[in-house]
Amino acid sequence: MERKIIISELINNALTESNGLILREKIEIFLKEMSEDDTITLDFKNITLFATPFFNASIGYFILNLGPEKFAKIFKLEQISELGQSTYQHSYENAVEIYNRNTNTDIVGEVTKTNIENS
């Protein structure tokens, strides 16, 4: 099932961290109710202003917590302007980089720990 969030019904711009946190809260409610194959569409119709604090606090949070693969399966963006898409892309790529960096560090930590225990 597709669940849709019409962003302009929640907030009037995609600039601020506080608006990003409002979106995050809405998404979290949906995620709790979701089945395996459900998706969430973020509809940005009538939103014209975009900045990284908004995307970092909202979708960036979910990329770090779900991982990029699961994020891509669940989320879709639509009716987003070129400015919005560009801003989102920067935020998305930064989040994926941080996720990969943290994951690699965790793996190294686990391997090191195992080696120490087994030595």
Binding site: T16, E17, L49, N56, G60, Y61, L64, L83, S91
Partner: protein
């Protein structure tokens, strides 16, 4: 006229940016260009609010009709970028290295549950697209990214309190 007032949060910063665009010749820009200008400029005060630990700052802007350039500056009386980086990394870095670290994509001194550190990268891209210049003065460092793409870090012989950030673009 924009009355002198205190900006303490993102919403107030956004409102000031909206007013200064609408009160200037920039209000006649195409909607997409105006939205881009507004959105990218917002990254500047947002950065100051997030990092400076300052309760006081000044925003200045100007549109120079003959040269068709727009300048936006924000000055905060915070701890400065180098000290913010030293406090975060808990090492005694020299000021130029600290500013270089801060301006690198993905780096941030703000800890939280979501990713950060991309605002300056977007501003730099915006500067390139609009043939602009960025100037940062903080502690004893002057950083410039000029219209021809050249970046420079210059050690000043005096200490400056807080951080001054200026963006100049052609519109």
């Amino acid at each position: 006229m924009i009355p002198l007032n205190k900006i303490t949060n993102e919403e107030e910063a956004n409102a000031v940016i909206h007013k200064l665009i609408e009160l200037s010749q920039l209000k006649d820009l195409a909607p997409e260009q105006k939205a881009t200008l507004h959105s990218r400029i917002f990254e500047i005060p947002n950065n100051a609010l997030t990092h400076s630990k300052s309760e006081f700052g000044i925003i200045c802007h100007g549109y120079y009709k003959n040269k068709k350039t727009f300048t936006f500056s924000i000055y905060d009386l915070g701890i400065g970028i180098p000290q913010s980086v030293r406090n975060y990394k808990k090492v005694n870095m020299n000021s130029i290295d600290a500013v270089k670290w801060a301006l690198e994509k993905g780096n941030t001194t703000k800890i939280g549950d979501y990713p950060r550190g991309i605002g300056f990268t977007l501003l730099e891209e915006f500067r390139q697209n609009f043939r602009g210049k960025i100037t940062i003065i903080t502690e004893d460092v002057l950083y410039t990214a000029s219209e021809n793409g050249e970046s420079r870090y210059i050690k000043l012989n005096k200490l400056v309190r807080g951080t001054l950030f200026t963006l100049k673009i052609s519109v």
